[in-house]
Symmetry: C2
Subunit: 239 residues, 2 copies
DNA sequence: CGCCAGATTGATACACATCAATTCTCGTGG
DNA sequence: CCACGAGAATTGATGTGTATCAATCTGGCG
């Protein structure tokens, strides 16, 4: 099992060791039994900060994350960047795009993905209802996630956005007793800012503010502990 | 290039006359030939400003718009509202929601929708690949639209948001020679504001500013003409 | 050790929100 | 037909949350 409907966000992911590969597969809404997507695609490894594809590229393939974190982003002419999603194990991307990809896909960490030919995929889905059903579920999850993200960007304050992000992050990671209340931020402050519709400076200020008020704590910027998750959840009220 | 990817937005919709009913069905990405969703659902009429369902309701049904405009929205405890989408003829909603609806659905205008039982729908989709394929397409469109909306909310200025909205609106309406360059805003300024992540006042100010600079013109607030769509498109550069 | 990207911190600016009136529009009833 | 009321839109004065500009600090790595 797996928490279920979280909204946005990601999950830690160790890295690029070969052992990272087996550590996966069933993302949100995937029965652990038979995975109808298994063996349809090819495994691809991408190094941290490399692109899987660029916005505007012909959308020939779609992907599912096996390990690591992928970001979907778009940059305007004048350099403003928005990250639409951080994707982790089990999540599908590159499907909704029509002719060309609408966003670039980049590896936040070293990443392992399954790569599918979309044309072939659609044929397979036409033949196998179970597969179609599965894709539908994965896609639904992406939509639900994007919609929560809309509320965050449209109506929440900086503190609320960060609280929401952190809370979602904890909810999403597999609940091991070890990491309860701790999250590993695999992305930089800049990534965070571009996901949350803020600037690096604001992210930094707000997070250190929370740290001063002992709502969270961290020694390294990428290792955050939710000291008072109750206080955070109060801030994150809007979903 | 790849025109296709429109983003958000809606379409006018006369109203509630019985004649409004035949005026429809094939939305984005629906072949006019055989519509696999036809005759699966029941036709329902909803009056302007009535709710189809509320956020939190058990998600038993999904819907497709036949005529009119539907808004999906969420309200925080303290009254902030975000509209995730304006839906018009041919567009599907209420599918991605897991147990409970994540957003309320309300009629912006008098509306005609097709209502589908989701459980039955999933069975039908399992049996008929063509149907599954169709739903997948409708859902993909919703995701692509939401993702563009994320960029708008996260990174665009007020003027850019409004320009983008208007441009999308024109692109989307069926190109009759009559209405070219003219859009009918079926929603109030408040709806607009809540969709664009702004306040009513800002929407009003920016629109009247554009009017003064002769980029757009309108006598009634709901009937906007894009006098210089080139200037608007320049503002709307980010998609 | 020194470099450099990332993170933090401070001072200041500005876009948009907020608060507060009007004005406009339209439906209703006298 | 017109006065009335009420919600919608506009307009103005002011406030503020976050961006911007500008150092400085930190930690990993060659």
């Amino acid at each position: 099992m797996y928490a279920s409907t979280v909204s946005s966000v990601l999950t830690p992911a160790r890295a690029f060791t070969s052992s990272a590969l087996h550590a996966v597969a069933s993302g949100p809404s995937t029965r652990s039994e038979s995975d109808p997507l298994d063996r349809c695609g090819t495994i691809v490894r991408i190094e941290k900060n490399r692109s899987l594809y660029y916005e505007g590229d012909e959308a020939r393939h779609c992907f599912r994350v096996r390990a690591g974190t992928v970001r979907l982003c778009k940059i305007t002419e004048d350099g403003r960047r928005q990250i639409a999603a951080f994707l982790t194990a089990g999540e599908l991307f590159g499907w909704a795009d029509r002719d060309a990809y609408g966003f670039s896909a980049e590896a936040v960490t070293d990443v392992v993905v399954e790569k599918f030919d979309r044309r072939r995929m659609e044929q397979a889905a036409a033949a196998d209802p179970k597969l179609a059903r599965h894709i539908l579920t994965l896609l639904s999850d992406r939509l639900a996630s994007a919609q929560s993200h809309l509320v965050l960007l449209g109506r929440l304050t900086a503190a609320e956005r960060i609280a929401t992000f952190l809370v979602d992050l904890v909810k999403r990671q597999k609940p091991t007793p070890a990491n309860s209340g701790t999250v590993e931020l695999t992305m930089t402050r800049r990534d965070l800012a571009d996901y949350l519709g803020l600037t690096v400076e604001t992210v930094s200020r707000v997070m250190n503010g929370m740290k001063r008020r002992r709502i969270i704590s961290f020694t390294a910027p990428e290792n955050v502990e939710l000291t008072q998750s109750a206080a955070l959840e109060r801030l994150a009220m809007a979903a």
